[in-house]
Amino acid sequence: MTSQGLYVDGVTVTFDGFRALNNLSLLVEPGELRAVIGPNGAGKTTMMDVITGKTRPDTGIVRFAARDLTKLDEAAIATLGIGRKFQKPTVFDALTVFENLELALKAPRGPIACLRWVLSGVARARIEATMEQIGLAARREDLAGLLSHGQRQWLEIGMLLMQEPELLLVDEPVAGMTDHETEQTAALLRGIAGTRSVVVVEHDLEFVRALDCRVTVLHEGSVLSEGSITHVQADPRVIEVYLGR
């Protein structure tokens, strides 16, 4: 096993007798961009839930940076450097783009610290830089509730970046996006990986191809196939359960 990156081994999760994850094992290297695909109910979202501490595994090991994630709660895991982007964009509609990013900025999180918080020049510069990166610099004072669907997704990715995560989990980022937005999102995620690990869960195979990275195919809670997109698309088992339908 490795002390860096994400290490998932033999994880099983059961809900009322249903095995959402079945002896799942996965290794994501530091800086790697990884796509996870699979049909509905394959366990993609449950896998994310386990890594972020929302769901506790029945058995198995989940480690990140040599820490056992199964013993930590969501806030502690987030502090450890794992950020998650949900399927439905959940930015804070009543706050502006700038305020959304400010809340996500790595800073003391306690109530008193928040009460006494003063935005420093360095922090402001970081927020500005992230707004540039996600293409929302022109919308900084707009309420997040006024953004388009694609822009909300980018804002949420920006919020994750503000936390300087070492591992970014991204759940179906391009669902409902236009083709143009999808391309931009792929470019954005490719740019983010390298300095940090990124795991993208996605249905859209065109998008996965655009990500140009290693692909893991899940089926019934465990890994069915792993490799380049060309490799998995040629795998007969994958064709049978997923691509052939």
Partner: protein
Amino acid sequence: MNRRLVLMLCVLALAALPAFNALPADHPLHVPDFLVSVVGKWICYAILALAIDLAWGYAGILSLGHGAFFALGGYAIGMHLMRLIGPRGVYGHPVLPDFMVFLGYTELPWYWLGFDWFAFAFLMALVVPGLLALVVGWLAFRSRITGVYLSIITQAMTYALMLAFFRNDMGFGGNNGFTDFKELLGMPLNTGATRAVLFYASLVTLVLVFWGCAHLTQTKLGRVLTAIRDAESRTRFLGYNVTRHKLFVFVLSAMIAGLAGALYVPQVGIINPSEFSPGNSIEAVVWVAFGGRGTLVGAVLGAFSVNALKTWLTSVAPDLWLIVLGLLFVIVTLLLPKGLIGLLRRRGS
């Protein structure tokens, strides 16, 4: 017009009331005594409304038990007022309040110690509601109890306290509570001068609490609370310990409610367990909903307008009040989700 100017004019108009009350009774601008005490009460209600709005409007914690914190603050100062009666009670006991003599107490219960000092009693009016909120809030928020479940728990809390305070052997005067107060800080109650002092103390407190809440909601903490209100689990994933933030604002809110109660009791001259009744807490939430939750001005406006309506209606048609209160809540929920303030702002723009 400038918002701040309007607010200042409102405060000045309120501040003028006791001054006009001091004019001779036959002066055309004379303000009757009852109006000063009634508006003094409303000011305390407005402070309570701010407390509720801070927790509900900003952090999404709909407490239906804030009347309990208000009442506890009132009881704390009431205990001090009882101690100040001294030997002037009906039974003339040098130490024990009348009800204790009547119930056969031989000495002051331990939890009454210290209440002969105003500073201690005042501190307790903040600390006791704060501690209760800390315990109830910690248990509830830690288990991630939110929404209607939290509301029900807070209702149960105030109801349980009401039943407890009704009991004679609690040592808080049973269903009669405390009354017959004589003086506070050396000032005899029931004089125009004391009424004015209490009125101004309440008004200054209202302004300070308003200013403090306005400041708090402008900080990053205010934005975190808004985030918790709108998407609690998302906020947790951002690394915020939501339980601690909610606990912070809930305790602060309970202490503000306690402060309001402490200012209220010397002005009305009585505190009894009916202050804990669940209906009181719900009524206070209606003020905030009616005025416009999530805006501090709305909470204050709601407290004043609903109570003005109540004072007027209970004198002309007392039977109608509860029906009107219920209707108000329905109308606001269906037609005015942003309350009076939302309506005024829509008109204004």
